[in-house]
C-alpha cells in the first residue's frame, strides 16, 4: 500500500484545521462544517481501508513501520522520528478515532448550528483529530509525546470554547495545568527510558528491553535509584503522564470540570478518544510494563481499580448529567487500566490486555452515544441539571431508545457490547487479582445503578414541564439523530467482534471464553442496580431523599466528590503558595530586584555627590583647566623626565 494513504489519514484533518482556521471565518462560514465533515469522512474511509487491509492480510499481526522520517538525531541510536506504526492496537485506534470523530462532526452540524464561532469550532475539532491520530500512529516515544501535548492543547481550546463564560475558562485552565503537570512525569520518564535503553523507537525499545540478557535490559535493571531500577522509575513516570491524561485518581479533578465544553466535544475528547490515551500508552508499552517492571503494572492495576470504584460512587450522587457521564467515563477507564494491570504477557494471562482494548472499543461506542444523547437532551431542555428533566421519553423517542441501549451496554447486560468486554475484564481480574475482581464487581453494580438513575431521571420520573421556555421543540433533526442511531448499532453489536483473535499480547489468537456460571454474578449485580434505580427513580417519590439521609455523612462526602478538589486547593493555595510561592516572591522582590535597584541607587548617589563640580561658572572651569595644564606640564617636565 502506498505510504501516502497512511499519511493522508492524519493529514486530512490537519488540512481541515488549516483551511478552516485561516479562511473559514471569512470565506465559508456556513459551509465550514460540511468541509470538516467531508475531510473527516475521507479520513475515516481510508482508516477503515488500511485497518481492513492489515487485519485481513495474515493471521499473525506484525509491528510494521510503513512510514518513517528521521527528524532530529541526537546520537547514533536516539533520534526523534515521525512515523507510522502499524500494529493491531494502532489500527483499532485509528478506526475508533476517525469513526467517533466523524460521528461528532456530523452531530455538530446540528448541535453547533448558528454558533458565532462555528468555523473555529470545526477547525479545533479537526486539529484534535489530527493530533489524536498522530498520537495513536506514533512510531517513536517522543513523537507520542509531541502529539500528546497537541491533544492537550486542542482539549484546552475546546473546553474553553465558550470563552466568555468564566467557568469554561477556569475549566480549560484546570484541565491544561493538571494534565501538563502529569506530562512532566511523562517527559522525565521518556528521558529515563531513552537514557537506559538508548533508543526512542518503539520497535527497538520493546525488542531490546524485553529480550532477556540484552545489554540494555540488564543495565537498566541494574542501575537503581531510591531502591527501584531506572527502568521501573521510567515506566512509573510514564504511567503518571498516562494517568493524568486518562483522569485516574488522584489526577482526575480536571475531567468533570472539562464538561464545560460543548457536549459533542465531551463525547469526542473527554469520553471516547483523548482520555483513553493513557490506557493506550500503557498498552503500547505493555511488553515493557509486563516483562521488565511488573511492580509498576501492579500500581497501574490498583490505580485503575481505585479510580473505577471511586468515580462510580461519586457518579451516584451528582445531578449534572454531563458530570455523571464524566465520572462514569473515569470509572470505565479505571476498568481498562486495571485490566492492563492484572494482565500478564503471553497466552491466556494476556487476556486482560485484550479485554482492556476491547473495552476501550466498546466504551468509545456507548459513551460517545451517551454523551451525544445527553447533548440532544440538553439542547431540548436547555439545562444540564437532572432536576429540570424527567418524562422526556414521549417527547424524544429516538434519543430515548438509543440512550437506553447505551445504558444497557454500559451496565453490562447481554447481548449489548459492554457485557462482552466487561466480562473479559472481570475474567482477567478473577485470574489476576482477587481483590481487584471484587472491586470491579461492586463497581459494575454501581455502574448499572447510576446509569439507570440517570436514565430514569431524564426519561421517566416526573412528567415534563415545558413552561419556562418555548421555542423549538424537536429532537434536533435527523442530522443529530443519525449519529445516535449509528452509534447505537455499535453499542449493541460491537461486542460480537472476536477481539482476542486480533489483539493479544504475543500474536497468538486468543479464544474468547464464555462461562455461563461466571457471568451470572455480574449480570445479576447489574440487574440489581437497574431495579434499585427503577425503584428509586422511575416514579417521583421521596425514597432517594430518605436513602440519602440514612447514608448522611457518606452521601455528603460523595456529593462533594470526596473533597478532592478542596484538598488540591488546600495543598496549592495554603501549602505551596505559602511555603514556596510567597518566599520565592519575597526573594525575587527583595534580593533579585534589590540587587538591580542597588546598582541604580549607587549610581544615582555617586552622581548626586559629584554633581556640584558642574557649577556652571565658566571661569571656575577655566581655573581647573589652567591648573590641570600647569600640573601636567610640571609632571612631564620635572618628574617624568
Amino acid at each position: 500500500m502506498p505510504a501516502i494513504i497512511y499519511i493522508l489519514i492524519p493529514f486530512l484533518p490537519l488540512a481541515g484545521f488549516v483551511l478552516l482556521g485561516l479562511f473559514g471565518k471569512k470565506y465559508f462560514k456556513s459551509a465550514s462544517g460540511w468541509i470538516g465533515t467531508l475531510l473527516m469522512l475521507v479520513s475515516f474511509i481510508l482508516a477503515v481501508y488500511v485497518a481492513y487491509d492489515y487485519f485481513s492480510a495474515t493471521s499473525i499481526f506484525p509491528r510494521n513501520v510503513p512510514v518513517k522520517y528521521t527528524w532530529l538525531v541526537f546520537s547514533e541510536n536516539i533520534s526523534i522520528d515521525m512515523g507510522v506504526l502499524q500494529d493491531p492496537i494502532s489500527m483499532m485506534m485509528i478506526v475508533v478515532v476517525t469513526f467517533i470523530s466523524l460521528m461528532v462532526h456530523i452531530y455538530s452540524l446540528g448541535y453547533m448550528k448558528g454558533e458565532e464561532r462555528y468555523p473555529t469550532y470545526y477547525s479545533f475539532l479537526s486539529l484534535f483529530t489530527f493530533s489524536m491520530l498522530g498520537l495513536v500512529l506514533a512510531s517513536n516515544l517522543f513523537q507520542t509525546y509531541i502529539f500528546w501535548e497537541l491533544v492537550g492543547v486542542s482539549s484546552f481550546l475546546l473546553i474553553g470554547y465558550y470563552y466568555d463564560k468564566p467557568s469554561a475558562v477556569a475549566a480549560a485552565k484546570k484541565a491544561f495545568i493538571v494534565t501538563r503537570f502529569a506530562d512532566l512525569g511523562f517527559l522525565i520518564g521518556i528521558l529515563v527510558i531513552a537514557n537506559t535503553s538508548d533508543t526512542l523507537d518503539y520497535n527497538t525499545l520493546i525488542a531490546t528491553l524485553t529480550s532477556t540478557g540484552s545489554e540494555q535490559a540488564s543495565s537498566a535493571a541494574a542501575s537503581t535509584f531510591l531502591g527501584a531500577s531506572a527502568l521501573t522509575w521510567g515506566t512509573a513516570l510514564i504511567f503518571i503522564g498516562g494517568a493524568g491524561k486518562s483522569a485516574m485518581f488522584p489526577l482526575h479533578i480536571w475531567l468533570p470540570d472539562a464538561m464545560e465544553g460543548p457536549t459533542p466535544v465531551s463525547a469526542l475528547i473527554h469520553a471516547a478518544t483523548m482520555v483513553v490515551a493513557g490506557v493506550y500508552l500503557v498498552a503500547r508499552l505493555f511488553p515493557i510494563f509486563s516483562i521488565n517492571t511488573p511492580a509498576v503494572l501492579d500500581i497501574v492495576g490498583w490505580v485503575g481499580a481505585i479510580s473505577a470504584v471511586f468515580a462510580a460512587i461519586i457518579a451516584c450522587t451528582q445531578t449534572d448529567i454531563k458530570r455523571i457521564l464524566a465520572y462514569s467515563t473515569m470509572s470505565q477507564i479505571g476498568y481498562m487500566m486495571f485490566a492492563l494491570g492484572v494482565a500478564g504477557y503471553g497466552g491466556e494471562s494476556g487476556l486482560g490486555y485484550t479485554a482492556s482494548m476491547f473495552h476501550l472499543f466498546t466504551h468509545a461506542m456507548f459513551k460517545a452515544l451517551l454523551f451525544l444523547g445527553a447533548g440532544v437532551v440538553i439542547h431540548y431542555v436547555h439545562s444540564n441539571d437532572m432536576k429540570d428533566m424527567g418524562g422526556l421519553r414521549k417527547k424524544m423517542p429516538v434519543t430515548h431508545i438509543t440512550f437506553l441501549i447505551a445504558c444497557l451496554a454500559i451496565a453490562g447486560i447481554p447481548p449489548f457490547a459492554g457485557f462482552f468486554s466487561k466480562e473479559e475484564i472481570l475474567l482477567a481480574a478473577y485470574n489476576g487479582n482477587t481483590i481487584i475482581y471484587w472491586i470491579a464487581l461492586i463497581t459494575s453494580g454501581l455502574t448499572a445503578f447510576y446509569m439507570f438513575r440517570l436514565y430514569f431521571s431524564i426519561f421517566w420520573n416526573k412528567p415534563y414541564q415545558a413552561d419556562h421556555h418555548s421555542g423549538h421543540k424537536s429532537e434536533g433533526g435527523w442530522i443529530m439523530l443519525f449519529p445516535l442511531l449509528v452509534l447505537a448499532l455499535g453499542a449493541a453489536g460491537s461486542g460480537f467482534i472476536p477481539f482476542g483473535k486480533y489483539i493479544n499480547t504475543d500474536g497468538i489468537p486468543l479464544e474468547s471464553h464464555f462461562h455461563l456460571q461466571f457471568s451470572i454474578l455480574p449480570v445479576a449485580l447489574g440487574l440489581a442496580g437497574i431495579f434499585m434505580a427503577m425503584w428509586l427513580y422511575k416514579k417521583q417519590n421521596n425514597r432517594p431523599e430518605k436513602l440519602a439521609a440514612s447514608l448522611n455523612g457518606f452521601y455528603k462526602a460523595a456529593y462533594h466528590k470526596f473533597y478532592i478538589d478542596e484538598i488540591y486547593l488546600f495543598v496549592t493555595k495554603k501549602i505551596i503558595f505559602n511555603l514556596i510561592g510567597r518566599p520565592a516572591a519575597w526573594f525575587d522582590k527583595n534580593v533579585v530586584d534589590g540587587l538591580v535597584n542597588l546598582a541604580g541607587n549607587t549610581t544615582t548617589a555617586v552622581s548626586e555627590s559629584i554633581k556640584k563640580l558642574q557649577s556652571g561658572r565658566i571661569q571656575q572651569y577655566a581655573i581647573y583647566f589652567l591648573f590641570g595644564a600647569i600640573g601636567l606640564a610640571i609632571l612631564f617636565i620635572y618628574i617624568w623626565k
Binding site: S615, G616, R617, I618, Q619, A622, I623, L626
Partner: protein, 104 residues
C-alpha cells in the same frame, strides 16, 4: 640700538598670555572675556612668529600657522558674539554669572 632677541619676544608673549588668562578668570563681562581670549591667542601667534624667525628663518610654517589662528580667531569671535547676543536677549545681561543656570 639693541636688536630684540628671542628672549624678549618670548617674555612679551608670556606676559600677554598671563594677562589674557588673568583677564579671562577675573572679568565678569563676556565681551571682556572674549577679548582676553584674543590676547591668549595673540601671545601664541607671537610665539610662532618668533620661533620661526629665530630658529628656522628660511621656512614659513610658523607664519602659516599664525594665519590659520587669525582666521580661526575671527570665526570664533563671530560664534562667541552670537552666543553673547543670544544670552543678552534671553537674560538681558552679558554677565557671565547669569549664565550659570545653563549648567544642567
Amino acid at each position: 640700538m639693541m636688536q630684540p632677541g628671542l628672549y624678549h619676544i618670548l617674555f612679551i608673549s608670556t606676559a600677554l598670555f598671563f594677562i589674557g588668562v588673568y583677564g579671562f578668570l577675573t572679568r565678569k563681562n563676556l565681551v571682556t572675556m572674549l577679548m582676553s581670549i584674543e590676547l591668549v591667542l595673540n601671545s601664541v601667534n607671537l610665539n610662532f612668529i618668533a620661533f620661526n624667525k629665530y630658529l628656522w628663518p628660511h621656512k614659513m610654517d610658523g607664519l602659516f600657522f599664525t594665519l590659520f589662528i587669525i582666521a580661526i580667531a575671527a570665526a570664533e569671535a563671530a560664534v562667541a558674539i552670537a552666543i553673547i547676543i543670544n544670552l543678552y536677549r534671553s537674560h538681558n545681561s552679558i554677565n557671565v554669572e547669569n549664565a550659570e543656570e545653563l549648567k544642567y
